[in-house]
Point group: C2
Chain length 555, copies 2
C-alpha cells in the first residue's frame, strides 16, 4: 500500500466542484457594508509556484523513519509537503493561495499501526526531530503548523493509514476506532451495526476522530449527543515515554482523570492511536425546522429554557439579527426570501433571529412529542414557526460554509470565525463585547467589518457563541490585519468571562491567551505533563503550552 | 468563634440514637450463614482509654499555625485528636472501638477562609509538616489517615468553618459554595432559592462538598442528576505552590481539563477552597417504587434498556438475589415480608431481585409519564410491581446502613463494602468474580462470608457494582482478615476489567491497585502534577499516589 492521496485540495477547503459564485445580493450586501471589493479575482498560485524551504531531514533520522514505516511511507515530494504545511485557518489560506509558505514538514511519515507510531516517536526523540500529528489537517487555529521548536527538523505524522473501525460492542454501545478515520467513513462503518456517533462538526467530511479527540471538538448535534470529550470512554496514546492507556470504564473515582488530561492535548503529549467511543442507536427519523425569535436576548432565554427544562432538540442554533440578515441574503434574491422578510416584519420580527432546530430519534411519535414540547416553549417566547423547508435548507448546506470562505478569499475578503462559551448570565455581555472589539479593531484599520454570530451549543449552565466577520482584505498586510482583529476579540473574550475556545482548540493562535485562562500554575501543570510524556519536547512544538517559550524558532 | 464541635460520635458513624438492635431474623440468618457469633457484645472502649501517640508538633510550626488561624483554632486536645485520627472504614472502626490508634494528627487547624488555608499550607511547607485536608471524615478507604510520610509532624486541616453558600446564579443554575458545607446544610440553603444539587451519597448527612469533589463522589440519585464530577463547573484549589483557579465556563476546548485533574485529587495536590456547582430546580414531586426482576442478569438487561433508551429513573438500584434475601430478612419477621416472599415465589421470582426506583420532578404528570415508560420496559423484562411502600421504606432508611454496621461490629461481625464499575458486556462476569474472590478468601480463613451486591449507578455504557460482605470477625487478627478479603476482591476487579473504585476513591486502601489501573506512565503523570503543586510532598501523604513510595513512615 502506498501513502494515501491528500483528502483536500492543496490550496483550500475540501474538493473541487463545491464552490458557488457569490450571488448578486451577497455582492451588494458586502459592498454596502464593508466597501467596494477588488474587480480582479485573487486566485491561488499554481502548485509548482509554491515556495517551500528545502527539506532538511538529517540522513540518519530518515533512515530510522524508513526502518520504522517503510521507504514508501516516508515522503517529501512537493505536493505531500505542501498539503502538510498548513491547516485551514484564514492565515493558512492566505499563505497557501499566495504560495508563500515559510515552513513545511521536512518529511511526512505514514505509520500503519500503533507499533509503528511508537517506533517513529522513538526515532524522532533520539534524533531531535519535531513531530506534528496529522489527522484531517482541518485545524483553524494553527494546530498543525509545522513548527520545529528547538529541533533540527520536523515531520508530519500522518494517520491516514490508521483508519479502521476496530471493534463494536452493541451491548455497552461502544465502538473502538483508529485515529485516522474520517467522519463519513466512521458513520458508514457504524451504520452497518445500526449505530451512530452523532458527531457532526463543520469539518465532518475531512476531519478525523483522532483530531476531534485531540481538540475537544463539538459538533452541530452536540447539544443532543454531547461533545467529543463526553463521548470518549477509553483511549491509547503513544508518547515518547511510552504508551498511556485509559481503560474504557463508564465512570471511576480512581483519582484525577487522566482521560481528561489526554483529551484536548492537541498532539503536544503524544499521538492518539486508539479511541473507544460511546455510540448510540442510529436514528431512523429526523426533523429540521426553523423558527424566528423576536430578538437575540429573547431567543437566548428560549434556548436556556429549552435546555434547563429538558426539552432541548439535538441541534439548536440561534442566529443574531446580523447573521439572520446575512443568511436571508445568501439564501438568494428570490421572491420567497422577500416574502419571508415581509412576513417577519409584519409579525414584529424586523430584527428577528433565525433559529434552527433538529431532532433525531427512533420513532415519529417520540419526535413529535419532543417537537411539541419545544414548540410550546418557543411560542411562549414569541417565536414564529418558519417550517421545515428552511430547516432542511440549513441541514443541506451545513458543511458548505468553508467552501464559501474560499470564494470570499478570491474576492479579496477577509473572512474568519472564532468562538467562545460562557454562562448564561454573561452571554449577551460577551456577545456585545466581542462584536464591538472586532468592529473597533477593523474600523480603526480602515476596513470596517460586518460581524455576525450564533449560539450553537447549549448547556444547562451556558452556551457557545460563534462569530463570523468579514472585511476588505488589506492587500500585503493581510496577516497583520487578521491578527489585530483576532487579538482584540481574544482580549474581549478573556475580559468578559468567556473561554478562549469552546471547540476550535488552542493550537498556536490561542496559545498567548491560555495563561490568562488557566493561570500560571495551570500552565505549570500542563508543562509538567509534557515533561513527563515528552521530555525531549518533540511533540507539536509551539502549540498549546510551548515549553520552549516564545523565543522558540519557528520551523 | 471557637472551633466547631465534632459532627460524628468519636467511635462510629453519625450520632447516638439511631442504632437499632439486630432483629431475631437477622441474627438467625447470620448464624446460619456465617456461623455462631460471640455471646458477649464488643462495645467500644471509653474515650479516655483510647491510646494516642503524644502530639509532636514542633513549637515553631505551632507558632506559625497560630499566627495563621488564631490560637483557639489550633487544637490538640484528646477528643479533637481522636475525632481526626481515622475515617469511617471498617479498619478505622476496628481500631477506634479497640482504642488502639497508632497515629493521630499532632494538631487540628481550623482556617476561616481561603487566605488562612493558604497561610497554613505555606507554614506547613516551610516547616515540613504534613497536611490532611478534613471535610466530614467519612472516608472508607483510609483517605484521611493521619500519615506523616517523611515529615516530622502531621496536622488535620479542618474545613468546618468554611461552610457557607457563597453565591447563587438562578439564571445559569449555578451555586458557589465553600468546601466545608455538609449535605443537609447545602440542600437547606439551596431550598431557599428553590434549587437542589441532587447529590445524596450514603454519607450525605456528614460528608462535605469539598470531600465529594476531592473523591469523585456519586450519590443515590446520580443516575438522574449526575456524579459530582459532572456537577463541578469551576473550582479554586489552594496548594503549597499557590492557588489554581478553574473558571466556571459550561464547556471549553482550551486544552487538557485541569478541572478533571483537581477533581478526584483526594487532598494530595491541595485544598479545595471553593466550588461552583451546577444546580437544578428543586423537585416538588417525588415517587419511590419497588419492582422484582426474575433474575440478576435479566434485571441488568432491564436497567441497561432503561438508560440506553432514555427512560432511566433518577434513582435506580438492583439487588442481586442474595441482597434481596438479606433485605427482606432485615425488613422484619412480620407477616407482610412472608406474604411478599410467598407471592414472589408464586410469580416465579424465587431468586428474584429487588429493584428500587426513584423519580423527582416538577409535575405529577411528567412523573407519571416517566414512570409509565420505565414500567413498560420493566414489564417487558418480566418485572413484578411491588408498589410504593417498599420504595418508600428504602428511601426512609437510605442513610441508615452505616449505623447498622456499628451494630454488627458490636456483635463481632466483619462487615465491609466495596464497589467498582465496568461496561455492560462484562458486568455479570465481574459480579461473579468479585463475589467468588471474597468467598474464597474468607472461607480459606475459616470465616465463610455472606456476600451480596447491588447495581446503583447506571450509565449508557455500563454500571457500578456495590458489594457488601459479612463474616465472623477473627478476634485479634481483624485487620489481617479484612485485608485478605479486600486484596482478593481488588485483584479480581483489576483482572476482570473493573475500575478499582467507582465512588469511594483511592485513599490509602486502593493505592496499591492504582498502578494496575492507570499504568506506570499514568502514575508518573500524577506524580508530576503533585511535584508541581506540592513540591515538598506535604499534602495528604500515603494516599492515591504516594511520591514517598511504600517505604514511607506511617504517622
Amino acid at each position: 500500500m502506498t501513502a494515501p492521496a491528500p483528502r483536500m485540495r492543496w490550496w483550500g477547503w475540501g474538493e473541487d466542484g463545491h464552490d458557488a459564485p457569490l450571488s448578486a445580493g451577497a455582492q451588494t450586501l458586502l459592498a454596502q457594508q464593508i466597501g467596494p471589493l477588488p474587480q480582479r479575482r485573487r486566485d491561488p498560485v499554481a502548485l509548482e509556484d509554491v515556495r517551500l524551504p528545502a527539506a532538511a531531514l538529517p540522513a540518519t533520522a530518515r533512515e530510522r523513519l524508513v526502518a520504522a514505516v517503510g521507504a514508501e511511507h516516508v515522503r517529501d515530494d512537493h505536493l505531500t509537503r505542501v498539503t502538510h504545511a498548513a491547516g485551514r485557518g484564514y492565515h493558512d489560506l492566505v499563505r497557501l493561495r499566495a504560495g508563500t509558505l515559510d515552513a513545511a514538514p521536512d518529511a511526512v511519515v505514514y505509520p500503519a499501526d500503533a507499533e509503528q507510531v511508537a517506533a517513529v516517536l522513538r526515532a524522532c526523540a533520539e534524533d531531535g526531530v519535531a513531530v506534528v500529528p496529522w489527522g484531517g489537517g482541518t485545524s483553524v487555529v494553527g494546530g498543525v503548523a509545522p513548527l520545529r521548536g528547538t529541533h533540527a527538523a520536523v515531520v508530519a505524522l500522518e494517520l491516514a493509514r490508521m483508519d479502521r473501525l476496530v471493534a463494536v460492542d452493541p451491548v455497552s454501545l461502544t465502538a473502538t476506532v483508529q485515529p485516522g478515520i474520517v467522519g463519513p467513513a466512521l458513520e458508514e462503518a457504524l451504520a452497518a451495526h445500526a449505530l451512530t456517533l452523532g458527531h457532526f462538526p463543520q469539518s465532518f467530511e475531512f476531519a478525523t476522530v483522532g483530531g476531534w479527540v485531540a481538540t475537544r471538538s463539538a459538533g452541530q448535534a452536540s447539544t443532543g449527543y454531547g461533545r467529543i470529550d463526553g463521548l470518549v470512554l477509553g483511549l491509547r496514546v503513544a508518547t515518547p515515554s511510552g504508551e498511556v492507556v485509559v481503560r474504557p470504564v463508564p465512570a471511576s473515582a480512581a483519582g484525577p482523570s487522566l482521560r481528561e488530561l489526554l483529551v484536548g492535548s492537541e498532539g503536544t503529549l503524544g499521538v492518539i492511536v486508539e479511541v473507544t467511543l460511546r455510540v448510540r442507536a442510529r436514528p431512523t427519523v429526523r426533523r429540521y425546522e426553523a423558527f424566528s425569535l423576536p430578538a437575540f436576548g429573547v431567543g437566548a432565554d428560549a434556548f436556556r429554557a429549552l435546555v434547563q427544562d429538558g426539552d432541548a432538540p439535538d441541534v439548536m442554533r440561534l442566529s443574531d439579527p446580523q447573521e439572520t440578515r446575512v443568511s436571508l441574503t445568501l439564501a438568494g434574491d428570490g421572491l420567497a426570501t422577500r416574502a419571508l422578510t415581509t412576513y417577519l416584519r409584519a409579525r414584529g420580527h424586523a430584527d428577528g433571529c433565525l433559529a434552527i432546530f433538529g431532532w433525531a430519534g427512533s420513532s415519529e411519535a417520540a419526535l413529535r412529542r419532543r417537537r411539541a414540547a419545544a414548540a410550546r416553549t418557543l411560542r411562549a417566547h414569541g417565536a414564529v414557526a418558519l417550517g421545515t423547508p428552511v430547516g432542511q435548507a440549513w441541514e443541506h448546506g451545513r458543511f458548505h460554509a468553508p467552501y464559501l470562505r474560499d470564494e470570499l478569499l478570491a474576492h479579496g475578503v477577509l473572512v474568519e470565525t472564532l468562538e467562545t462559551a460562557t454562562t448564561w448570565d454573561r452571554l449577551l455581555e460577551l456577545h456585545d463585547a466581542v462584536a464591538a472589539a472586532l468592529e473597533h479593531a477593523l474600523r480603526e484599520r480602515g476596513t470596517p467589518p460586518l460581524v455576525w454570530c450564533h449560539v450553537s451549543h447549549v448547556y444547562r449552565a451556558g452556551a457557545s457563541l460563534y462569530f463570523t466577520f468579514v472585511a476588505r482584505q488589506q492587500e500585503g498586510t493581510e496577516l497583520e490585519q487578521w491578527h489585530a482583529a483576532k487579538a482584540a476579540a481574544s482580549d474581549a473574550i478573556v475580559a468578559h468571562g468567556g473561554t478562549i475556545t469552546h471547540h476550535h482548540a488552542v493550537g498556536r493562535d490561542h496559545a498567548p491567551w491560555l495563561p490568562g485562562e488557566v493561570g500560571p500554575l495551570g500552565v505549570e501543570l500542563l508543562r509538567a505533563a509534557k515533561a513527563t510524556l515528552d521530555p525531549a519536547g518533540i511533540m507539536n512544538p509551539g502549540k498549546l503550552v510551548d515549553p520552549a517559550g516564545p523565543g522558540a524558532r519557528a520551523g
